[in-house]
């Protein structure tokens, strides 16, 4: 039992109703047999020393038997049929948040009803995949309180985004001298969703091609926004509140006409976030370790969505390489942010390599800002990006290949393979840059400022595109 295996995992009995009965332990049988044999030998041989040896075992065995868990008289009454519980142990569990950002914790709670005679209960929460349970957080072997209900709360922390499982909790109760115990009861297995951590992104640059109805980006056309465009002579149809009185007075002195102030319109932009889930490169160490390429991708995507949706823009999401994920259409607001992080949390990398890259750009309209988040390892992605650029869409590539990959601490063959791969990538990056597509390594807040300013400037300049 103590060879490294967790005693609570050695014998598991799962009951759909969270109920489990009692069984005699080897310790009780040992005490009974040792005491009985020694007492018998003492009686037969009339030896005091053998009687003394029998004393502790006899006392322990008798004590353990007398204190065994039993149903109370009220519970044995026929009127209590259908209710809890006889001498069974009944456990119920719940969990706090079902959706939580990675790196944050939730509390798994259990309520265990112990019958009279049950003296203590041990509760453990089995750690799940990328779910950390602090082993030193709380006591896990507890005495039965007077009301017979033990309440336990264990903190579990998700350490990586994605669908996660918290639990089950393993519950085992024991009687006096551990003469009787229950089988290990599994209770409370909960599916939770860990959403990608979206750090704060500070993008001060305007979004290119704002063509919506309302928003915060300065449009190229005049309208009723807040940014000054020009001051011009009054025309029929101009509103009185737009008259610029200082200029009008100066013009009147020289015989001119009324002057009015014109503004640029404020509009929202459409941002298309394209996530490359065709591969996930690097060791998966969770939020406390080094990120994989997909970790960087989804966290960057969540952060950008958070920023642009917060700024009032419309954002849509396309995930390439992950099966059974919907394309999220263009929408704005907090609900869209929730939808985006939910889809990102459900990404299963490299489960769909067929049609997603071919149809990646279907339905995109001009004026959209296409942001492709990719480690640029899969060769199809460069084609997608070049296709978007050729259609005249403002396209930005965010390079999410982690810096630590291919570092000197890898073995010589891995390092060599990475060198070759990086040479290939360099060629692809050059091709993209030659096509006018900026490639920005993801460095967190402020990564996109310079590039977006350039794109906004270029968007206003005349150009020739291939149709």
């Amino acid at each position: 039992m103590t060879t490294g295996a967790h005693p609570l995992t050695a014998r598991q009995a799962e009951d759909p109703q969270g109920r489990v009965g009692w069984q005699v332990t080897a310790a009780h049988q040992r005490a009974l047999l040792l005491g009985g044999v020694a007492a018998l030998a003492a009686i037969v041989s009339r030896r005091i020393d053998l009687l003394v040896l029998a004393v502790p075992m006899l006392v322990v065995a008798t004590w353990g038997w007398a204190a065994r868990p039993r149903a109370t008289a009220a519970e044995r009454h026929p009127a209590s049929a259908g209710r809890h519980t006889g001498s069974d142990v009944v456990a119920r569990a719940s969990v706090g948040n079902r959706t939580l950002p990675e790196g944050t914790a939730t509390r798994w709670r259990a309520e265990i009803e112990l019958p009279p005679g049950a003296e203590e209960v041990t509760v453990r929460l089995s750690p799940g995949y990328f779910v950390a349970v602090d082993p030193r957080a709380e006591l896990d072997s507890l005495a039965r309180p007077d009301n017979g209900v033990v309440r336990v709360g264990i903190v579990a922390r998700t350490t990586r985004w994605g669908p996660r499982r918290i639990g089950p909790g393993l519950v085992q109760a024991r009687s006096a001298w551990w003469a009787y115990r229950t089988a290990v009861l599994q209770v409370g297995r909960f599916a939770v969703t860990a959403t990608p951590a979206s750090g704060r992104v500070e993008v001060d640059a305007p979004t290119p091609h704002p063509e919506g109805l309302v928003g915060v980006n300065r449009s190229a056309r005049p309208g009723s926004g807040s940014e000054l465009a020009a001051i011009r002579p009054w025309q029929p149809g101009d509103r009185l509140r737009r008259i610029h009185w200082p200029s009008s007075l100066r013009e009147q002195a020289s015989g001119g006409t009324l002057q009015v102030r014109t503004n640029y319109a404020d509009e929202d932009a459409h941002v298309v976030l394209v996530v490359d889930a065709l591969s996930d490169i690097g060791p998966r160490e969770g939020i406390d370790g080094r990120p994989t390429s997909l970790d960087l991708t989804v966290r960057a995507c969540a952060a950008l969505a958070h920023h642009w949706l917060g700024a009032g823009d419309r954002v849509s999401l396309r995930v390439l390489g992950s099966a059974d994920l919907p394309r999220l259409g263009s929408a704005a607001g907090a609900a869209q942010l929730r939808r985006i992080v939910d889809v990102l949390a459900r990404i299963s990398p490299a489960t769909d390599r067929e049609l997603t890259t071919v149809r990646a750009l279907d339905g995109l309209v001009s004026g959209s800002l296409v942001v492709v988040l990719t480690p640029l390892v899969h060769p199809a992605l460069a084609g997608v990006v070049l296709g978007a650029a050729a259609r005249g869409l403002a396209t930005v590539v965010i390079d999410t290949l982690p810096d630590h990959l291919g570092s000197a601490d890898e073995d010589v063959y891995t390092e060599l393979a990475w060198r070759i791969r990086r040479l290939d990538r360099r060629d692809e990056l050059e091709r993209l840059r030659a096509a006018g597509v900026p490639v920005v390594p993801w460095r967190g807040p402020g990564s996109l400022d310079l590039v977006l300013r350039d794109l906004a400037r270029r968007a206003r300049a005349p150009r020739v595109v291939r149709r």
Partner: protein, 190 residues
């Protein structure tokens, strides 16, 4: 002086537990599990030592038996193996009949501790963190049973000297009654 000896004994027990856990491939753990492992491993050897003190016999075979019993108690704590080990030691005691008879008192206490330690190892995770009330309850009960054992060990020779016929069988019955009474007292206090 006694504090120094006590701390050295604790250190020795810790060292023995660590060595035993390393030898058995048991996960590292501290607290009650380490004490229980040390107790379960050392208990058979202590009983054999008492047999040796009472009979003057100690051979390599005995040491091997003690090592086997201690190892088995930890390795297969939740099986019938510890019972077989203790039954073997009991048979050895019955055959060797160590003298003086009061040596049975410390042997019985060691048996109690070894049994309880094995029960703990069989039922609790290695790194279990028990409520202080539970630890106090265990210690209190062990002291109570040890006190009963000492009392019986002290009174039985007196009864034998008085030639009270059938004292062993009578004592056995009284013991069972006493255990029931202890249980009632314990429940009332809890």
């Amino acid at each position: 002086m006694s504090t120094v000896i006590g701390s050295r004994l604790v250190r020795l027990a810790g060292w023995a537990a660590a060595a035993a856990r390393r030898a058995l491939g048991v996960e590292a753990a501290g607290g009650p599990a380490a004490v229980a492992t040390a107790t379960a491993v050392l208990a058979p050897g202590l009983v054999l030592l008492l047999v040796h003190v009472g009979t003057g016999l100690l051979s390599t075979g005995w040491i091997l038996l003690a090592a086997l019993a201690g190892w088995a108690s930890v390795r297969w704590a939740d099986t019938v193996v510890p019972l077989l080990g203790w039954l073997s030691l009991l048979a050895l005691w019955a055959l060797a009949a160590p003298q003086p008879a009061w040596l049975a008192v410390p042997a019985a206490v060691v048996l109690l501790l070894g049994h309880s330690a094995t029960a703990w190892l069989a039922g609790a995770p290695d790194d279990v963190r028990a409520e202080p009330a539970l630890r106090r309850r265990w210690v209190g009960r062990l002291v109570a049973v040890a006190a009963v054992t000492v009392a019986v060990g002290a009174l039985a020779p007196v009864a034998a000297r008085l030639a009270a016929g059938g004292s062993v069988a009578l004592t056995t019955v009284v013991l069972i009654g006493l255990a029931g009474w202890l249980r009632l007292v314990s429940r009332a206090r809890d």
